[in-house]
């Protein structure tokens, strides 16, 4: 990571110059939305998992991501400094204001879809948190440090399941292949920086995605080889979620997530 052009005093959250503060707010919000939307999707499995132990595992991952999302939202609310709370940010923004990548809003599909979506996310998330943990923003570093332990477990879980499904039965392989064919095109967005991310990366405030790629690619190659699955030819990446251009799925998800807050505005629950 490049050395930031900012003094430590400027880097203390309250002292960020206004424009940088607003950029960082956007970035943290993006992290929060990403973890929340994936947590929400995983929580849809609760009570419907393929076996009780995996029902528990899916809820565990959902709870970890939800906890992480809350930490980011709380920080985002402070950076914004307009008195909004974590719930205002999660419950009172529309789909076009959400900043999560397209991958995490994709529906659960069957267990193979959920595993592939999770694997692609975990592989990125784990490397990202490693970067953030050593970054100059103390608050993000602290959240990343806590979340990294969880993310390491998530990546282990999704890697192991990808291997089981790939090198399991012909049926599991057929389903895995279908999930890969559908979801792989959403992986590219994770490491394609938005203009806001590019600027923060240039300042050295957040990890440079180009630096994360080698470790991510090595892990994908390793897991797919174990799963006896050929490396997919890189599809054209679908981009847009991180700048608010989402798939149709997000609107329904938010309609459900925000239902009570939207129906009864301004109440405490």
């Amino acid at each position: 990571m490049a050395t930031p052009d900012l003094s430590p005093a400027q880097l203390a959250a309250p002292a960020y110059p206004a424009e940088l503060r607003s950029q960082l707010f956007q970035y943290v919000l993006q992290l929060a939305d990403t973890s929340l939307i994936l947590a929400h999707r995983l929580s849809e499995w609760c009570g419907h998992g393929p076996v009780l132990e995996q029902d528990l595992a899916l809820s565990n991952i959902a709870l970890d991501l939800l906890g992480e999302a809350r930490s980011y939202y709380q920080y985002a609310a402070e950076l914004e400094g307009r008195g909004r709370t974590e719930d205002d940010l999660a419950y009172l923004r529309s789909a076009v204001e959400y900043r999560n990548p397209l991958l995490v809003e994709q529906p659960n599909g069957d267990f193979a879809y959920t595993v592939v979506r999770q694997f692609l996310f975990d592989n990125f998330h784990y490397q990202l948190l490693k970067g953030l943990q050593n970054g100059p923003d103390a608050r993000l570093a602290a959240i990343a440090e806590k979340s990294l332990k969880e993310a390491a477990y998530h990546l282990k879980w999704s890697s192991e399941w990808l291997i089981r499904l790939g090198d399991g039965t012909p049926e599991s392989r057929r389903r895995l292949d279908k999930a890969i064919a559908t979801l792989w095109r959403f992986a590219g967005e994770l490491t394609t920086p938005t203009p806001n991310e590019s600027q923060l990366q240039e300042l050295g405030l957040v990890p440079d995605y180009a630096a994360l790629l080698p470790a991510m690619q090595a892990h994908v190659a390793h897991v797919l080889a174990e799963a006896t699955v050929p490396l997919p030819t890189a599809p054209v990446a679908q981009l847009g979620g991180k700048t608010g251009r989402h798939s149709e799925h997000l609107g329904y998800l938010l309609a459900e997530l925000q239902y009570l807050q939207r129906t009864y505005p301004g109440l405490t629950w």
């Binding site: 609760c46 009570g47 998992g49 809820s59 939800l66 809350r70 939202y73 999660a90």
Partner: protein, 317 residues
């Protein structure tokens, strides 16, 4: 088994252990009927945890704040955990989880009828925690001292978590009752729907509960259905008053002489109707479980096939 009275028959020795409040462990001799009763009761309890995930799971995606969402998800996850300990406890009696699930899916095994009622508003999450878990605790706390060791030990863990669940339910109700009028109405409306079905959770009246006497003798059960129902009413009526809510029973009145609340008669026709499978959600709850199991079959098969391949490769290497 430690022998208390070597001259007695196995049955008499077994009963002597029970009477001395000693635990029966998996390898101990036990009457076949005791084993069968326990398998039925523990598996029914495990199934209730599993099916019980569904009515609350119904609100995880609609919880009104991130904090509530996290608490609710953790609570439903606890229920999955309770299901696991209980299936394991039942397995010590010589059955298998596959067998128990097959019995659930075929309709042979029962689960608590309370989960055949729908959850229609956010206040239902309050009522399920406050009333349903409250009733479950009254049923379950005595089971921590039940005669069969693995069941008693599983229940110690279950009860610790249940009391947290009940508090969170009460807290949802309290927040609603201290909130806007529309929230208080939501709370009252949910109480109106859940009150009678929760009273039914204690089972039929003692006079109509043929298994009670034998279960009390074996110390599988420690209080009768009617005793527990009375305890529940005595505990909940003051809590409802504290919340500013009214239980939907005109006959509820403090009886100075009995030092207990009098209350009205449960609608037993409804009770038996739901037990027999005709409640609003019986069909969809069971269907949801069957569907999850059937749709998960290929995943479980893949895991087994992969494990077998690994083992084979390790053997070759």
């Amino acid at each position: 088994m430690e022998t208390l009275a070597p001259d007695l028959s196995p049955e008499a020795q077994f009963q002597a252990r029970i009477d001395a409040d000693l635990r029966i462990e998996p390898k101990d001799w036990m009457p076949e009927a005791y084993r069968k009763t326990l398998i039925r009761q523990i598996s029914q309890h495990a199934h209730s945890e599993l099916v019980g995930m569904l009515p609350e799971g119904n609100w995880i995606t609609r919880a009104p704040s991130l904090k509530r969402k996290a608490i609710l998800l953790a609570k439903v996850q606890d229920e999955a955990g309770h299901g696991l300990y209980l299936y394991s406890a039942a397995e010590t009696l010589g059955t298998s989880r596959d067998q128990m699930l097959a019995d659930l899916h075929s309709g042979k095994a029962k689960y608590s009828s309370i989960f055949n009622y729908p959850t229609l508003s956010w206040a239902d999450m309050g009522c399920v925690g406050w009333l349903v878990d409250g009733a479950a605790i009254l049923n379950q706390v005595p089971l921590c001292r039940t005669s069969y060791g693995p069941y008693a030990r599983a229940m110690v863990r279950v009860c610790k978590e249940e009391s947290f669940h009940q508090r969170q339910g009460f807290e949802i109700m309290q927040t609603l009752c201290e909130g806007a009028p529309v929230q208080k109405e939501m709370a009252q409306e949910a109480l109106n729907r859940w009150w009678w079905p929760t009273l039914m959770m204690f089972g039929p009246k003692d006079a109509d509960s043929p298994n009670t006497e034998q279960s009390m003798k074996w110390r599988i059960k420690r209080f009768t259905n009617d005793e527990l129902r009375q305890k529940f009413v005595d505990m909940m009526v003051p809590q409802a008053e504290f919340l500013g809510l009214k239980v939907p029973d005109e006959k509820v009145r403090w009886n100075e002489e009995r030092q207990a609340y009098d209350f009205g008669e449960v609608d037993w026709e409804e009770f038996w109707n739901v037990v027999k499978g005709n409640g609003l959600c019986n069909h969809e709850r069971l269907q949801a479980r069957v569907q999850a199991h059937e749709e998960g079959a290929w995943v479980r098969e893949a895991a087994l096939a992969h494990a077998a391949k690994r083992k084979e490769r390790a053997a070759v290497a």
